[in-house]
Amino acid sequence: MGTGDALISAQGLMKRYGDSKVVDDIHFEVRTGEVFSLLGPNGAGKSTTMRMLSGTSTPSGGSLRILGMNPVKDGPAIRARLGVVPQKDNLDRELTVLENLTTYARLFGLSRKAARERSVELLEFVQLTDRAKDLIDSLSGGMTRRLTIARALVNKPDVILLDEPTTGLDPQARHLLWDRLRELKRNGVTVVLTTHYMDEAEQLSDRITIVDRGRIVASGTPAQLLRAHGTPEVVELRHDDGCDPSHLPALRSLAERVEVLGSRVLLYVKSAEETVAAVHRAGLRPSGTLERRCTLEDVFLRLTGRSLVE
């Protein structure tokens, strides 16, 4: 609590809409230069938290400091040093790719010349230079997202907030984006992102806070979370005609923990290989088996009894 170098600090953060608490007693700290992720399923309150951070939504309670300022009072001063990538792209369809950057940069008070130079530089950074004169509608989903990220960088922000930067993108587009975010981190930009992809959180983040229904479920580094709430490995058993419940007691004796997800049974174990052998020795005949390491998806399932991506 209260470490001096926290760039963002939220304590007991609350957001109420009518009677429902959408963000309920959330606390976290983000240090300079790190990548911090809010991981959670739909409706967890991720976007609401992000909007409170940028001072575009007023908290119903708790305290929030960012860049040493209070978002409720100092919204504009904070946003001068902040980059915001909203969940929904809101680029201007009347303008070209380049103009989307220049007009936005002008809102930050950059001169015409500086806005242009910075925009050209950013198109290079997100690899859209050859699309500079195109209209937004001609861009693919991945390009649109990259452009939105470029736009959030016009003011050379100290902190960038990215709300689900890669949702809906194909694997290649996601990797390209991850690469750009790592580059930002190397340049000393503090990154706060939300996602409901556990692999994204795990790959990019220094620290993660898992949220569900407005409340914190767990926080820590990816390794800490896996150690505390997971097992080294997982075996997935697939049953094409459904899992026979009479097998469950036998399975439970083979694993630290068993989760049934529809036609899949997940066994949380130390060694996947040994467990698969044991399953076969016990005369159980699943339609398929998959051995894998434990992920944050499993941590989430364990902590909430639900899967992250419905």
Binding site: T56, S57, T58, R79, L107
Partner: protein
């Protein structure tokens, strides 16, 4: 405050450069059409002077106020609705270092600039046609800007509350059109039934029409205008603008920073 406001206005102007052609009819052509058809055409059958003016001289200053009023009403309607609910232009501005007040003031400032341009074109054409005797009529442009502000600010509060665009038509049919017809532009308010006169007399358009006509009389006939006349009408217009601004800011706070 001022700097951010100007940036917002410039942002709207940049975007307007892409779409201005769609607005030429209401901004430029319609008022001139009225001036020609009603003022010069139908006006030639009007034998009596109206309040000491020939009919077209009576009509022109009123139309000038209407130009500003309708430009404001147009901008405060669908374009504002779209910017808040459809294209997220507002949400985009609000991730820049701008306050709600600056975003609002900048948008209103942009609208007054649009109104000024439309009014200036109207004045110039009317002066060329000899409807206004003097180029001093261009001094009416700032009045047109105040009328636009006084109309746009309260209409903003209405539009910003809407969650569906269906009600936008209601305003243009039940408020903007009747006011344009009956605010003393085409004939003096005194000719209306006594019951509706007070309603018209609170509308910003009526005050704008009175101001423009009074001033245009002063410029052309050199009749002079009393300071109390100027102060009275300007005061009401500025009151509309101030109340509208405050109301809109309240609505913005509720709907844009919730």
């Amino acid at each position: 405050m001022l700097n951010g406001t100007l940036r917002v206005a410039r942002f709207h102007l940049t975007l307007y450069r892409r779409t201005w052609r769609a607005t030429t009819f209401t901004s430029f052509l319609m008022p001139l059409l009225y001036l020609g058809v009603v003022g010069i055409g139908a006006g030639s059958y009007v034998e009596n002077d109206v309040e000491g003016f020939s009919y077209v001289q009576f009509l022109a200053p009123g139309l000038l106020a209407v130009v500003a009023f309708q430009t404001a009403a147009e901008e405060a309607g669908f374009p504002l609705y779209a910017a808040i609910r459809l294209t997220d232009r507002y949400q985009r501005m609000l991730t820049a270092p701008l306050s709600l007040g600056q975003v609002l003031a900048g948008h209103l400032f942009f609208i007054t600039i649009r109104a000024a341009v439309s009014a200036a074109v109207f004045c110039a054409v009317a002066a060329l046609l000899g409807v206004f005797d003097s180029w001093l009529c261009l001094l009416l442009v700032p009045v047109a800007m105040v009328v636009a502000l006084a109309a746009a600010a309260p209409l903003f509060a209405f539009t910003a509350r809407l969650t569906s665009s269906a009600n936008l038509m209601t305003v243009s049919r039940l408020v903007v059109l009747p006011l344009s017809m009956f605010s003393g532009v085409f004939f003096p308010v005194e000719d209306l039934p006594a019951a509706v006169q007070p309603l018209i007399r609170i509308s910003p358009l009526w005050h704008g029409v009175e101001l423009c006509r009074g001033l245009s009389g002063a410029f052309t006939a050199g009749s002079g205008t009393a300071p109390s006349f100027l102060a009275g009408h300007l005061g009401v217009l500025l009151l509309w603008a101030a109340v509208g601004f405050a109301l809109t800011l309240l609505v913005f706070r509720r709907h844009l920073s919730d």
